[in-house]
């Protein structure tokens, strides 16, 4: 469902949740409420942004992780089980580390798209990068120069994220290098002596 509705619509919806649910309370079902808040106070632009963006992203991420886990050869599950690993050990020691190889690249794109998605929250008066720039150029009328500043900042952040992604990919590519790493072989021969 969260993948089916445009993120912008979801953001505006969460921001205006107070119309639907004036009070939000945590309590025992059909029993007394333990805590209760006025929805207008709880749903600030910030909480609406966090709820809206994270629900959309978690829906995509769940699919990415599922695809990664499904991509691990069934034989790996069997080999781990055959060696006496419990299901939990099998998942965290054997399956997930291998799934990470296929999980990381699309996750990187998702990460970047969230970062860019934050520009959407300017519509609910959340002071993100775009909103801050808008506030300034409404005062100074230097629209294009300030939009360029925003562009540069987005590019810098995305570049940093991409570099981080590359490092993660290298870490989880262990055992998948095309060529023998010379250092490793030397190590192996040393240990053999």
């Amino acid at each position: 469902m969260f993948r089916g509705i445009p993120p912008l619509v979801q953001l505006i919806f969460w921001f205006n949740l107070a119309y639907l649910l004036p009070r939000i309370s945590i309590g025992i079902p059909f029993g007394p409420a333990l805590v209760s808040w006025d929805a207008n106070e709880v749903i600030t632009p910030f909480t609406a942004a966090v709820i809206g963006l994270s629900l959309v992203e978690s829906a995509y991420m769940a699919e990415i992780i599922r695809a990664g886990v499904l991509g691990v050869d069934l034989g790996q599950h069997e080999a781990a089980r055959a060696m006496g690993f419990t299901p939990v050990q099998t998942f965290f020691r054997i399956v997930l580390p291998q799934a990470m190889r296929t999980i990381i690249p699309p996750s990187g794109s998702q990460f970047i798209s969230v970062l860019k998605g934050t520009a959407l929250v300017s519509v609910i008066a959340m002071s993100d990068l775009l909103h801050a720039v808008q506030v300034i150029y409404n005062r100074t009328y230097q629209i294009v120069p300030l939009l360029l500043v925003a562009c540069i900042w987005y590019l810098v952040l995305v570049t940093l994220l991409t570099a981080g992604q590359r490092r993660l990919e290298q870490r989880f590519a262990r055992g998948h290098e095309r060529h023998v790493v010379p250092g490793r072989v030397a190590l192996g021969e040393e240990a053999a002596r």
């Binding site: 080999a79 055959a82 419990t86 050990q89 055992g175 290098e177 192996g188 240990a191």
Partner: protein, 277 residues
Amino acid sequence: MTGDVLATRDPAAAATGQVPVLRLHDVRKVFAGHAALDGVGLEVAEGEVVVVVGPSGSGKSTLVRCVHQLEHIDAGAMYLDGELLGHERHRGGLRPLSPRGAAAQRRRIGMVFQQFHLFPHFTALRNVTEAPVRVHGRRPADAEAEALELLDRVGLRDRAHHYPRQLSGGQQQRVAIARALATRPRVLLFDEPTSALDPELVDEVLAVVRGLAGDGLTMVVVTHEMAFAREVADRCVFMDAGRVVETGPPEEFFGRPRSERLQAFLSRHTASGRSDS
């Protein structure tokens, strides 16, 4: 389920006083209406090497997979050292073991797969040490020293720090054998260990298995290598259509097969030249 399996100890063993390492009693396994195992009985004594041969689809791979509880059996009983596999006593009846309980039993059985199934993200050494350290709680230093010895035994000590992808198929299978040995299993199961290998790599793996047989390890080997079967087996088992058709010592089994089906099977294999390898 028949009455004599309503106990977690092997009733036959209790009666005779002799406990085989592995005993299968009337094991049945059905896949989508087709009986893959149709009442299989088998006993494997301590130190015995049992080689299972048969045409594809005869149920021989299913047999070892069932012993290892990678498949659940539909009827019958299996005992390891006289202990029922796969079920535990619960309120006067039997219930399937929890995943944890099944894992505990699997730790006493080793398995070598046709497709090796080494963990590609670990080095050869780590593949061998992982189970002893994580599952059996051995000290990493001890496990590593032992793993290097095992890799030495399969002739791959100098490849300890290579990843599986950097090894040939034969080398990978030898690491897989070392990995299975590292848990000190009571019985080692081989599911067609050389079927996925290039012909020139088969011998190095068979040499390792031959060495293990010489060391007195209890093994059940499913294979298509007839010459090898004849050489290492203490006892040969011929399976067809989910049943054990004939069993006997290798000289008799290959020299004077009694059943027509085994005769036909052996002549086919000699004609195709597979037994020459």
